[in-house]
Symmetry: C2
Subunit: 254 residues, 2 copies
C-alpha cells in the first residue's frame, strides 16, 4: 500500500504567509523531511516525526521521503518559500526519475508557497511589475560561464533579475562578479534590492544603486532583485522609497 508525499513551502518564514492548504498538509502528515530551520517553522504534534537534514542534501532527503511514502506513510517534504523554485519539488522529481518503479506510484502532491522574490518585492513596491527572471547564482549546480551568459542576456533584453542563493561561505565572490558584469550593461542608478527575512520580525530590506551595490550586504538567506532600465524609485517624506517597474514600455525601446 503506497502512501502520500506532500511537498510544501512555508513561505519566507512569516507564518501568516503560509497557505491554509499547506497547513492542512502538515496536519495530515506524520513524517517530515527538510532542512532543520524550515522544519522549525512548523508547530508539530508529538505524534509527528522530524527528519532534519543539511541544506545541501536535497537528493538524499528526497529519496528518504519517497522510501517512507512508498512504504505507506503520510510524508511531508518541507521547503522554505515555494517548493518549486530552487527547492525540493525538483529534487523529489529527480529522485522519482532515477528511482525504483514503485516511487512513481506514490501519490505526489506539490503545494505552492510564497517564494522569496514575491515577498521581497511586496515590501518595496512592485519591482517585478513587468517581465522578470529568477536565476540561482550557485555554481555548485551549474558552470559559472552559464550563469554569466544568462545574466548578460537578460540584462540586455530588459528583464528585472531576481537572484537566489547569491552568496555563501563557499561562494564568496560570485555576487560581486555578477554586479560587475551588470554594471557594464545597465544604468548606474538601476535599483538593487537586498531582501532578507521579508515579512519576518528580523526583516532587513535595503535598496542600493547598481553603481555602488555592495555584495557584502547579502548573505545566503538574501534574495537580490536588480531592476531593469525601466525600474523607477519614488521618494516619500518619512517613508522608505518605493521601487517599481512600470507595466508598459513605450515604442522605440529595446
Amino acid at each position: 500500500m503506497t502512501g502520500t508525499l506532500f511537498v510544501i513551502g512555508t513561505g519566507p518564514g512569516n507564518p501568516h504567509q503560509m497557505t491554509p492548504e499547506a497547513l492542512a498538509a502538515v496536519s495530515q502528515s506524520t513524517e517530515f523531511y527538510g532542512y532543520g530551520p524550515y522544519l522549525d517553522r512548523l508547530n508539530l504534534r508529538s505524534d509527528q516525526r522530524r527528519q532534519a537534514s543539511d541544506n545541501r542534501e536535497e537528493l538524499d532527503r528526497a529519496s528518504a521521503a519517497l522510501r517512507a511514502a512508498a512504504a505507506g506513510a503520510s510524508v511531508c517534504v518541507v521547503s522554505g518559500g515555494d517548493p518549486g523554485v530552487f527547492a525540493m519539488a525538483a529534487a523529489v522529481c529527480e529522485a522519482i526519475d532515477n528511482g525504483p518503479q514503485e516511487w512513481r506510484a506514490v501519490d505526489l502532491i506539490v503545494l505552492p508557497g510564497i517564494t522569496a522574490m514575491l515577498a521581497v518585492a511586496a515590501r518595496v513596491g512592485a519591482p517585478l511589475g513587468h517581465d522578470f527572471c529568477a536565476i540561482s547564482l550557485s555554481d555548485n549546480l551549474k558552470p559559472w560561464n552559464i550563469i554569466e551568459n544568462r545574466l548578460l542576456m537578460v540584462a540586455r533584453a530588459g528583464f528585472v533579475i531576481a537572484l537566489y542563493n547569491p552568496i555563501s561561505k563557499a561562494r564568496p565572490w560570485q555576487l560581486g562578479r555578477a554586479f560587475d558584469l551588470l554594471r557594464a550593461e545597465l544604468p548606474a542608478a538601476t535599483p538593487v534590492i537586498f531582501g532578507r527575512a521579508a515579512g519576518r520580525a528580523d526583516e532587513c530590506i535595503t535598496v542600493q544603486r547598481l553603481a555602488d551595490a555592495d555584495a557584502a550586504t547579502a548573505d545566503m538567506a538574501t534574495c537580490v532583485i536588480i531592476g531593469s532600465p525601466e525600474t523607477k524609485v519614488i521618494s516619500r517624506d518619512g517613508k522608505p522609497d518605493l521601487v517599481y517597474t512600470p507595466r508598459s514600455i513605450a515604442e522605440g525601446k529595446r
Copy 2:
C-alpha cells in the same frame, strides 16, 4: 488624516491558497477595488463596499483607490494571483509616481500571493525547478518586437519561460507566433504546459510537445509554461506525467 491602502492577491482562486495575512487585510478594509471576478472571490461583509471595474482599467482603479485612502478610508486593492506580478501593485505605484503629493503619505501595504506560474508548476511537478522567467505576452503595453527579442534571448540562454496574458480576443495570433519563434530555438519535445484555474474545481492542465503546441488550447486566464532544453517528463502508470527541470546543469552545456 490619511488612510491605509492594502494591495493584495487572492492567489489563483482556490481560497485555500490565499494567505492569512491577505485575509486579515480584507477583514480590516472597508472599500474594495478590483476586477469583478477577483472581488467575487472574497466573502465581504455588508459594511464593506465593492468598486468593481473592468480588467483593462488598472490605472483609473489605482487612482480611485488612492483618493479614497488619502481621504482616510481603509482601502483594499485586489488582484488575482500575486499583486506584484503583472498586476495592481505596479499600477498603484505608477499612480503614486504621477499623482498628487498627498498620495505618497498613504500607508501602502503590498501583500504577496501565489502567482499563477507557481500554482500551475506545482500541479505538474517542478517545471520551474531551475532558472526561469516570466513574460507578459500582451502587446497592449509594450511593442511586439520587444516581446519577440525577449523570447529569443531567454530561449537561447536556457531559461524556462512562463507566459502571462498569452491570448485574448483582441490578441489572437501572438501566442501562435511565439510558439513558431520558439520552435526554431528549442527541441521539438520541449514540454509546453497550459494551466488554467490551477487548484480550482474547474482546473484544466494539459501538457503538449512544443512541436505540436496549439495556441488555441489557451485562453486569457491560462498561464503557459515552456520548458528549457533541460526540462524532462516522467511517465507514470495510471497517473499524469510529471514535468520537471533538474536543479543542475552539467559542464559543457550552453
